[in-house]
Structure formats: structure tokens, C-alpha cells
Amino acid sequence: MRKTCLNCIYELAKKDSRVVFIGSDIGAGTLDEFKRDFPDRFFMEGVSEQNIVGMAAGLALSGKIVYINTIATFMTRRCYEQILLDLALHHANVRLIGSGGGFVYGPLGATHEVIEDIAIMRVIPNMTVVAPADAEEMKRLMPQTLEWKGPIYIRLGKGGEPIVTLPELGFDIGEPILMKKGEDVLIISTGIMLGCCLQAEARLKKSGLSCGVLHVHTLKPLNEKVFLKEIKNANIIVTVEEHSIIGGLGEATAAIIAEANFKKAKRFKRLGVPDVFPEIYGSQDQLLEKYGLTADNIEDTVLKLREG
């Protein structure tokens, strides 16, 4: 997904001279073609995220469209005030590309895992937050980032995620995609969790239960109309995110449900990371397993809610 994303930036740079790339201290060889073809628009500025974001704001307010890439923890937490003030307050056209969202860097521990990025980005006015599910969806997203107004945070997965999105369902920033139409149950996912949600849906279907799957690639702005339309008919709703249960997709959904004041109460559960620093080291899959972010657990959760 990261490679696709970076390739897309190079393609955008070829057709639009406003495109500028800034990295901090990312992998050797990253975007070599960009550097070769557009050396005056390629910057590798070292481990200095505060400066990079401020500098990006200066470039953006001078007419550039700036793409920044570094590890998601440092892209969000390290320079938070710069993102909030220099970018969001100024509607700066800067795209923050956070590598290794969620548990991708699981073996490296809490300094490198990022399970609160969506929460802290969502709360900033003027910010757009996107978490694509796979590389093909990334290809559909990136061209739209060129003319989108204001800053965007894009959360990347590990790379090599199975392709689960469908080109015929289209892609527009801010518009959730109904991947599966269901009757009684709605599973709502974001980012790479779409894969397990679709697996869970297939298993539940086999046991005769019709589930809808709503893919929320854009966590902000959130199209509440589409949400309400899909939520309205479901009695059981489960949200699934590789993120803290605080401040992310689950809480956003809960708020929409609560304020809709449905006559008949919904059965609802958030699946995500509890309010802890991850307690173990391990691969992304091992950490997802520990916190129940698996097709098995989604299936069990739906069945339990159904039993009441």
C-alpha cells in the first residue's frame, strides 16, 4: 500500500508542478525516481517532524501541494500542534501519509505502534482522515488528493494486504462504501479491517445470517446521511477498527446512533483495542488476534448480540 501510495505521488508530480514531497528519514531509495526527475521538489529533511510540518505549511500557502511521509506515530503525535495550527487552521493543502498504521510495527513496541492516530486527527477542525483498505483503493484515493481542500491524514497499512475493494463500487473521499447489502446485521469497518469483516460476513452468510458490510475509508468528513440510511434497517451493529475504542470509528458510530433516537434500540458493539498500551510484542496479526480483531471474533460477536 505504501509503495502504491508513493508511486501515485510520483505520478501526480509528473502531471502537476505544484506537487512537492517531503520525507523525514525514511527508507533508502524511497522515491528515487521522484528525486531524479524533480530534484527541486524532493526533500529529505531528517528527524525533525515539527519543522517538516511547519515548512510544508509555508510551501502550501505559497501554492504548493505537499505530500509528507514518515512513520504514522511521528507523523501524528510528534508534531501535533503543528498539524493543528500550521495546517488545519490555515486550510493548508498538505497530505500527511502515515506509514505503519495500527499494529504494523508490533514487534517494535509502543513507541512505533499507533492506535490513537485516527482519534487525534479526527478531533481537529478542517482535517480529513482516510484509511484505505488495500492498494487498489489507494490508487483510487490518491488522484482525488490533488484538488481536495485542506489537510488530509492518510493511514497506511503494512503492504501486501489482500485486495478486497471493488473498482465498480467507486471511491469518493467522504463517502462510505456499502460492500455487502444485508438485512438484520451491519458490520462497519475502516482501513484494512475490511478484509476480516468480509470473511466474517461470508461465514455468517453460510450459517444463514444476512450481514451488511459498510466500509468507512474516510473517518472525517463522515457522511452521516449514508450512515443513517444503512444503520436504520439493522438491529445489530458491530464496528471494527485497528485502533483504540476511544475516539475512532466505534465512538463516531455510537454518537450517530445515540442522536438518531431510533424507536427500537439497536444492539451495538465496538471491536477495537481497549484503553491500554499494547501489552505484548509480536506481528501485526498476533496483536490483532490478542485484541480480538479477527473474523472469528467478529462472527462470535454478531452471534452473541443476536442471542441477546
Binding site: 525533525s48 519543522n51 511547519g54 505549511a57 509555508g58 500557502l61 505559497s62 495550527l85 487552521l89
Partner: protein, 269 residues
Amino acid sequence: MEPKIDINFRKEILDVLNCSRRGHVASAFSIVEVIKVLYDEVLHYKANEPAWMDRDRFILSKGHGCLALYVILAEKGFFPKEELRKFCAPEGILGGHPEYGKVPGVEFSTGALGHGLPFGVGVALAGKIDKKKYRTFVLLGDGECQEGSVWEAAMCASKHGLSNLTAIVDYNKRQAYGSIYEVQSIEPLKDKWESFNWAVKSIDGHNTDKIREAFHQLPFDNKKPSLIISHTVKGKGITLLEKESLWHHKSRIKDEEMAELFKDLAKER
């Protein structure tokens, strides 16, 4: 002989303060001469076209000094002088820190310290990419130089040889709590900037001739960003402000305090 400072400009600032009875008046007083020379003689701009592409950019990174900026912008016609009377009021555009998009002539919203120089680096880099002739000026506070982001930007600016970028440190030696030497000294300041590969000059920041001379020598080095250490006195022109740290930011200023400020400023020196 001590250089003559601009009493009328300071009186304008007090008039604005008098309307809101709050603000960082002492921080504004230390930058008066520098701001005046910049807007009177150095910067290229069009007050009726603030977004003119080829303008020189001035960024007040120590945003709390905005009373001085507002007075000069109004004087130059960026917005009507009546706006000054609505400082910090809901119906006005001028807040306790300057905001981009609200105040014509303000390039960047500041108030949180350590943001102006990184932004200025980006603006200067964009100028280089686009082969524009505009110059970028960033006015920093001395206490602000305690922020790490200032030094990240300092490294970055010299790496790119941004000779179109000038930073000015308003070295008034006092921050909110008290003396900068007691809170967290930034010395040796000149050596620090030079070791970050900037070309540095020190001036008396209340001496208009010296300020003018320094600005006319820019860039100090064709391959480096320039840094002016502007030695100033916080609250310059009013004894009470010069001596008392509690005036760093003051709210609910009383009638008698206002009267004392006006009286002290008018005093023969």
C-alpha cells in the same frame, strides 16, 4: 547619546490597549523600531493587495507582540484604523494573537511559539523553487528560542542555503516569568546561530540607523540565511513596563494604571 525612540507609535499602541485593557504591551514595545523600519523602508508590499504574489513576507513569530504589527498594518492601510478600537472584541478582526485569513497583511497565525521559522523556511523554499525574488522575514522572541522547533528550522534553512530568509531575534532579555538568564539562558546566542551556519549580526534594536544599516546589508552571506540579533528592552519607553515582569501580559488594566502608562511615556527622557 541614546537613540530617539518612537513615542507616537507607542502612544498608538497604548490607545489600542486602552480599548481592550488587556494585551502583551511590553512585548510590542520592544519591537517598535524594527517593525517601523521594515514596513517603512525594507519590505515590498501592496496594502490594497495583501496577497500580491511578489510581496516580501513578514511573519511575526512572536505573535504576542501583535499590538505593534496591528498599528503598523493599519497605518499602512491594510485595514481601516477603526479596527484598532475593536482589539480583542467579538465584532473585530484583531485578536490577542494575529490570525491569517482574518487580518489583511498577516501571513501566518502565530501565538504558539516556535512555529514561525519552520513556516518561513517553507515560504522561502517555495520562492526558490519558483525562482521568485521575494524575501522572507521572521521575527522571533528570545524566549521563543527555547523551543526545539526553532533549531530544527535553523538547521533546515542553512542546509538549503536560504539567503532569501532573514530571522530577527528580539532579544529583550525578559520572558513571562522573569529574566531569560534565570529561566533558561539562550547564550551564547550569536555562537549558536553561527554554528547552525547562519550569517549573524547584532544591533541595537532601538537605534533606527543601525536597524536600517543591517537590513540594507542583507543577505549577510550569499549562501546562508541571515540572523539579526536585535538587542532591545522589553517595554522600552515606559519605566513601569521596563522594570516589572508582571506586565508581560496584563488583563483588566485599571483606569489609573492606564493613566500612569500614558504619563510615563510622555515623560522627557
